[in-house]
């Protein structure tokens, strides 16, 4: 980091502005990655120097007072969800849970934190993103990073035998990553997982899970989506055939996984410069991983004698053949893209891996890459043109240890990314069982496969549609008012009866409110039934009900004007009267759309 003996904040601020403009220009000109990176590094240094200089300038004077002010915010990478958003999120969660149980799943819940050793060594390069708890005496704890490792721990504790083959979990998980809030990339985020544990005939559970995720994404109305699929054994076979040393296979695999966000040139650079792979080996890999397509891609692979001679590749290709047969029975073939560059970062996968992406969520390079994919219906593994360079979407840079500077991420360059991902992990439960049994003990494993659905990313896709439609944020059906002298006891009495009958009801918390104030309170929540109590009417056993409607015009909710003076209804018959209205039936059937 640059350091100056007598920094001048104003001059530094000007330098920061100039450097920032330069970085933007370089980006627009699609300058090569190294140049952009260097310019950005300088920008970062300048910003830190400026911050120090400003701090020093404030230190002696008025800065003191400012320090005492509390910063009212949620922690970095987290956020609150208010009423309207939660109404939408509950709707999303309800659909996901309904499909989980429709597919025969049983729910599991594990703690938000685990003993540190449970989480250590399972995530590969993502390991460093784990949130640790402070040592306050006792166990070393950390926040869970996903639902898969806690599930495996649970299954191992159950002795590797589970009474239920299908388990699902919905809850928050935590990663100390660089957040891109607008796209649903958070440090605290919600995942819905569905896993199948047990020894069954090959590829049937895997097909079941792909059918499950297709059903959920279809019902959630996230728009067109694609399930990208690949197989770890095919990838490993390719790496072996191309000559990757065995100890480098996982790290090279994680470089390949970045092909959806980085150009081949950058990925190759990472393989060779950062990871020390021979350039010729990298080029061979490039030939294989550029292929995307459908079932017919299997024929191309089967024709590759070198690949078929590799036991890993052969096993993976056979699995894929069987899987395609089952996916046809599930009628989801049109959603599938066999994508040989898909690798997934996590260490624990052992077989098929998959990832769901939606058109709307893809980074800018997505459409072009897909066009290439659809043109490769007759791919050739011996094709010598390298994969096309994709738009240089900025890859979030790794954070320096200890530094908490907000990374400069150009949000327009980042898509929602995959909205669901998973795969087969046959060894994870066995790893726990073996670790618990002690060194050298052999332990029975438990084959598993599962998927994680990113609820925040789905929310980021669904919420704008809800907001556009001007959805209500609650379901209150009746608002009880008094025309007379407050009538608080009478209002409370009727509210109580309506609620007891299952009618969501509210009233204004004033002892003697005026009628317009009560109407305004009910209208704020767009409550359809205004129920008005009057002293004389009440004596006759009557109340007045006025149904109110709203329209969404030019992005604003407007009450539909009406000359309706209301309907007089017998108080004793009010509950049934409301329940018989089309409006009430529509809402209680779950038809929530305004």
């Amino acid at each position: 980091m640059a350091s100056m003996s007598s920094p001048n904040p104003e001059a530094l601020a000007a330098e920061v502005a100039a450097q920032s403009a330069l970085v933007n220009d370089l980006r627009k000109q699609q300058a090569d990655a190294a140049t952009v990176e260097e310019a950005k590094k300088k920008l970062g240094d300048l910003k830190r120097t400026l911050a120090l200089a400003q701090n020093a300038a404030n230190g002696g004077g008025k800065g003191e007072k400012k320090k005492e002010r509390m910063l009212l915010k949620t922690p970095k990478g987290t956020r609150d969800y208010g009423p309207g958003e939660m109404f939408c999120r509950e709707h999303v969660e309800r659909i996901v849970k309904d499909v989980f149980t429709t597919f025969g799943g049983s729910q599991l819940d594990t703690p938000v934190f685990e003993r540190k050793e449970v989480l250590t060594g399972k995530y590969g390069e993502d390991q460093k993103l784990i949130f640790d708890l402070m040592d306050q005496g006792g166990e070393q704890l950390a926040l869970r990073y996903d639902h898969t490792v806690p599930l495996a721990r649970y299954l191992a504790m159950s002795g590797g035998i589970t009474n239920q083959a299908k388990l699902w979990q919905v809850g928050k998980v935590y990663r100390r990553d660089n957040p891109v809030m607008s796209k649903g990339r958070m440090r605290e985020f919600s995942q819905a997982d569905f896993d199948i544990a047990g020894s069954f005939d090959p590829m049937i559970p895997d097909a079941e899970i792909i059918s499950l995720v297709c059903t959920i994404l279809t019902r959630l109305d996230v728009g067109e989506f694609t399930i990208k699929m690949n197989h770890r054994k095919i990838l490993d076979g390719i790496f072996e055939v191309c000559g990757v040393p065995s100890e480098k296979i996982r790290t090279i695999s994680s470089a390949v996984d970045k092909l959806d966000k980085m150009s081949w040139a950058d990925v190759k650079k990472e393989m060779t410069d950062e990871k020390g792979l021979d350039a010729a080996v990298a080029d061979k890999i490039g030939e294989y991983v550029k292929h995307k397509g459908g079932r017919e891609l299997l024929d191309v692979l089967k024709a590759d004698a070198a690949l078929m001679a590799n036991p890993n590749a052969k096993a993976g290709i056979e699995d894929m053949s069987l899987l395609f047969t089952y996916l046809e029975a599930y009628k989801v073939l049109d959603k599938i893209s066999f994508d040989m560059s898909l690798a997934r970062g996590l260490d624990y996968y052992t077989g098929i891996i998959y990832e769901a992406i939606v058109e709307a969520s893809a980074p800018p390079g997505f459409k072009a890459a897909n066009a290439f994919a659809s043109s490769s219906t007759t791919p050739s593994v011996a094709n010598d043109t390298p994969p096309p360079a994709q738009a240089p979407a900025k890859k979030p840079k790794k954070k320096a240890a200890g530094a908490e500077e907000e990374e400069e991420i150009d949000e327009s360059q980042v898509g929602v990314g995959s909205i669901a991902a998973g795969g087969r992990y046959d060894n994870l439960v066995g790893m726990f069982t073996a670790a618990a049994a002690g060194e050298g003990k052999k332990a029975a494993g438990l084959p598993c496969a599962g998927i994680s659905i990113g609820l925040d990313r789905i929310f980021a896709l669904v919420w704008p549609k809800w907001a556009e439609k001007g959805m209500r944020s609650k379901e209150t059906m009746a608002f009880v008012m008094a025309a007379g002298d407050g009538l608080l006891a009478e209002r409370v009495g009727l509210v109580r009866e309506l609620r007891e009958a299952g009618i969501k009801t509210d009233f204004l918390f004033k002892a003697k409110p005026k009628l317009p104030a009560q109407f305004a309170a009910g209208e704020k929540d767009e409550v359809p039934f205004a129920i008005i109590l009057g002293g004389d009417e009440l004596k006759e056993g009557l109340v007045t009900v006025k149904e109110q409607r709203w329209q969404f015009v030019d992005g604003k909710k407007v009450k539909v004007e009406s000359n309706d003076k209301g309907t007089k209804v017998k108080r004793a018959e009010l509950i049934q009267w409301i329940k018989d209205t089309p409006t009430f039936k529509e809402w209680s059937s779950g038809k929530l759309i305004a």
Copy 2:
């Protein structure tokens, strides 16, 4: 702590056993608290010495290998919930959420962790139970301790103005307390909160919340319950009238709060010995706080001239009078106990406070104490008999800083405790607004009242009833089988159609399973409809449906034997056929009881 120069593990183990027996004897004999405490302290010392000695003995030899074994467990004070339990918990949560929305509430969600300064200084003596996150660079974070402080932070961030007066939250909160797992006292636990924010006419929101909690507890079928109520201003008034120095009011208040678990003698001891209160002042307090009763207790207080001359007490008593009027309109008076010893530990309450307890949840002393309460319908504030000593239920001892020794808690001596609690906190939002505005700034507050429902404690009451009834742990309605040669594609095809029609369906993940194996798989989940595909029947467009039933006999689920050979149904009409059965209708109406 005792320390020995040459400890002998065997001899120490014998000493521990003897001391443990002594402690139990003393408890049975209801020996005085100090004697029991001393014996327990010695027991703790002996145990620690034994652990050290055992450690030392293992250090040189075989202990090494053991250390490498992973401990497969959830962190202290947390647990997993498996399928059957989660089915029950979802049922509890669904009822709670339904009542929340029936009362006009909107959902809010805040992060599981907050910036440390947000949580600091709001909980009083409980402050030390906060879980901190490790400093990994950046913000100092801690896990939330309740939903109230995050809600206040949210409201302050919204500028103290909320569009929705009624907000609810359901989620996990964290306390580094001593767990009593069997009673639902956990370090990670689920709370459901409902709060009303805004300036309304006095006591109407408070009455609304008490009506809400009565509705929830009635619908949850937790058994008989009581809402204990008191008012912070009445308590403060009493402390002032009795002569408690103002700086000691909160700490004396938290001592009074322990009267439901400790005898008056022990509470007085805490006030005088630990907290330095004059014994005569303590005795005066004792006269007031022993009173429990209904509305008539207000007349007794109003007749106390010294109390009515205190502005705090007078204001509190007037609030209580008004509240009782409203609770009558809500028809919940029979649930209320005005309990002058109720104080609640948290610092932020400013007005009425309440706590729901159930018969089944109370510690052993509860019945006796309640008998005393019901006999005090005409209490006298000048009565000079002290409150009766209750059964000396063991109070969890405060943990020494840094020590993580499992405290010895006799679980049979601990009740589930309060299952819901809350009150009015008019200054908390204003505290945040003021802190954010900086020193000396005046900020508008936002009056609030709310309740927290302890979902784990409710689960601890409801779950044994479910387990007794032998409830299912999932709702799968149909299991598709093949009588012929596997028919995997045909099974998958039908499964897919049934699921699409909303019928929860499963099948066995084998390519060519035998029929008995498929029946066994369906029966494990107690699936009511077995649907059998046969090659010839399928050609005729027919399937066989066999409805199966289970009984719960002597604590075991038994399939009801039947000679029914099944019904042949047209495949094209199968979905409607199933939906028309009483069994399907019963399940889809939410009538889950087996």
